[in-house]
Amino acid sequence: MAPSNNKETKPMTALLNEEKEVKLDIHEKLLPMMDISKDFKLTTVHLDPMVALKIVKHAREQVPQTVNGQLLGLQVENVLEITQSYPVPTQMSEDESAQYQVEMLHLLREVNADTDSVGWYQSTVLSNFLEKPFLETQLGYHSSLKSKCVALVFDITQTERGNLGFRAYRLSDKYLKLAKESSNARSDNAFTTKKLSENKLSYGDVLEELPVYIKNGSLTNVLMQEIETTSSKADLLEALQRPSSFDARLRAKKLQNNSLDGDDSNTFGGDENGGLLPCSTPFLSVPNPNSLGLTNNVESLAKPLETICDVIDEHIHNAGQWMYWQRGAAKEQRRANQYIHDIKQKNITRANQGLKLIPEPTEKEIAEKFRILPEPSRLDALLINAQLHELCQQINQITGPAVSKLYATQALQPTSASSATTAGTTTTTTTTTTGGAAAATAATAASK
């Protein structure tokens, strides 16, 4: 804190620094936040496990509809901490929704929850979220909350597949600049090919992704410990006490749930019809059965492929429209050029003959005479490309493990013929490793 000579133009920071000296009981971590003159750019998102589970629950119960809700939290320097969330009902008018949110915030404040809005969340099936409404909502948040807000996208399909799928996005500066231009200029469209290439905005950088971390509190850690130890012990005991029956089919099914490749999401994944079934997937500290399951290989690929086909159709349609515009515009442009050229030619002959010259047409006259349509917005095309890119990437994400699993299955099969159990297990181990490694290399090569 440098002493400033001019008292009147003292910067805000200095004022705050003075206050710091007085109020020493402010927690160190909070000091940077009080300094309003500094503008921290968000770099990471910390997600509270409770919020993660709340969103998971909300999204899971409404599948296949997508859901959304509000995120509440705090920004500490470059980190956005999301500590609370609440779902927003889907079918509501705007007034009702606003009323709902005001009430909810009011009630949450009473129990000391963080009530600063830091963004919103949306669930998605197949990462197919990148659409115009998404951008518009985020733009709305951006204008009201400045930079400190994120859109948290939760991928329920990925999560069901075995991997928690949260991603945090925010609009890129390039996109914001263009979006502002297009809202300022009333009718003029900012998303033209020229503008896009001037601003170097490509499908990859409409959104900026922020890394998401799960951050546990110490009590949460204790709870996790409790859940893991008690339930795994109880489950083990139960499993060992189970009578060994020779009803092979039933046993196999039961065991599949507990061992490596059991994925019976149908049993209670839907959850629509009450879902009061006893828990069939115990939470053990074993490899996740969902991520090792074979069944979802094909199923989880079919859907993205279908979506890709749809998106490609859209893309073709969009490209067709653009080509149509381009042809029309080029034709008109040619006619306009021809017209100007004709007048010039006439003027030359007239000048030779010593006649009065025809005034050359102004641009306005040309625009009136010839209808050169403005270029349609390229935003759609941009988003379609981004969607395609996202989907392709997702397919690679699925196929990588799928290929490895396939090799693992193959490795398992011949050994089933051999009768020695010990030998069988060990061979399985080695073959799985080699098979898995080979497949993994293949997969990485493929993704490159």
Partner: protein
């Protein structure tokens, strides 16, 4: 009558029971009334708790007022099997105030929050309440009585009381669930007997996978932070765990074969069951299946990569133009 006696005489369970009747149990006069009360209010047989509930309770406890020792809140969920099975799906905090002599609960808050919850999820009804603390507080019957009335509105015969020990007594986070029965001759709501109800934590697939990551944050993240990983990384981790397990099992089997460790029949049976799970498939058949599946997969990868390349090219072309 007999039911109550049974539970009271059990020394292991008596610590869990808060017996709030001021006078001793009447010997014979209240017999009929008691049995009818026991029959009419079915006790919950089992409670399934979703993990999000426990996390919310802990969060609420962390955010309590400085003067407060305990927090309470409402549990929401669904009923099954005529109300004898309760599935607790979510919860919310309710402000309350208590001291040595009285307890106050914000019932209006409860009502408003329930209304808001109802707009998002109509299926979930009030199924009980939670509080933190080591043991059932003396105000529990009063609060429970309120929730009995609130639950009656949603046709829940007997609400559940979930007690979470946030003081970490005995180095563990004790979680227990209770149902209550009226006790005594007079119908005073304070006379209640809390009986432990078995509970288990219910993990739908999606939640289970989320907990995997949360557990990772606990184990190897600095400051309890874990990053989210891609599918293939996650898969790799799972495979590694699996290999470790196989190693452990084969080591065990080897040492049993060598006679170093006494064989355990249960483990052996379990192992043989696991091995018998592998379906027998004709090798030729399998080979054909394997090849076709692999080709499908590789084709998809090829096509998706091709699409990406095309996208990239079109993007670059646009920039040049």
């Amino acid at each position: 009558m007999s039911l109550i006696h049974l539970n009271l005489s059990d020394p292991t369970e008596s610590s869990n029971i808060s017996f709030n009747t001021p006078s001793a149990l009447p010997k014979s006069s209240g017999d009929d009334q008691l049995t009818s009360a026991v029959n009419s209010s079915q006790l919950v047989q089992h409670t399934y708790i979703h993990p999000v509930v426990l996390f919310s309770i802990l969060d609420h406890y962390l955010r309590r007022n400085a003067t407060q020792d305990n927090v309470i809140g409402t549990l929401l969920g669904v009923l099954g099997d005529d109300g004898r099975i309760v599935e607790v799906r979510s919860c919310y905090a309710v402000p309350h105030y208590e001291n040595e002599t009285e307890v106050e609960m914000d019932m209006e808050y409860h009502g408003q929050m329930y209304k808001l919850h109802n707009r998002v999820n109509q299926k979930e009804v009030v199924v009980g309440w939670y509080s933190t603390g080591l043991k059932i507080s003396k105000y529990a019957p009063l609060i429970h009585d309120f929730y009995v009335k609130a639950a009656k509105a949603s046709k829940v015969p007997s609400p559940v009381y979930l007690l979470v020990d946030t003081e970490l007594t005995g180095n563990k986070l004790g979680i227990s669930a209770y149902g209550s029965l009226p006790v005594g001759t007079d119908k005073n709501s304070e006379n209640a007997l809390f009986l432990p109800v078995p509970y288990s934590i219910h993990y739908p697939n999606a939640e289970r996978n989320a907990l995997d990551t949360i557990s990772k944050a606990k184990d190897d993240g600095a400051d309890g932070i874990a990053s989210l990983v891609t599918d293939i990384e996650k898969f790799e981790a799972s495979i590694e765990e699996l290999i470790q397990m196989l190693d452990r099992v084969s080591k065990y089997v080897q040492s049993v074969c060598d006679g170093k460790v006494d064989p355990d029949n249960a483990v052996g049976r379990y192992l043989s069951d696991t091995l018998s799970c592998i379906p027998k498939v004709d090798p030729d058949n399998l080979d054909a299946l394997f090849q076709s599946h692999l080709q499908d997969l590789l084709m998809i990868v090829y096509l998706s990569n091709l699409t990406r390349v095309q996208l990239n090219i079109s993007d670059r072309l646009q920039r040049i133009a």
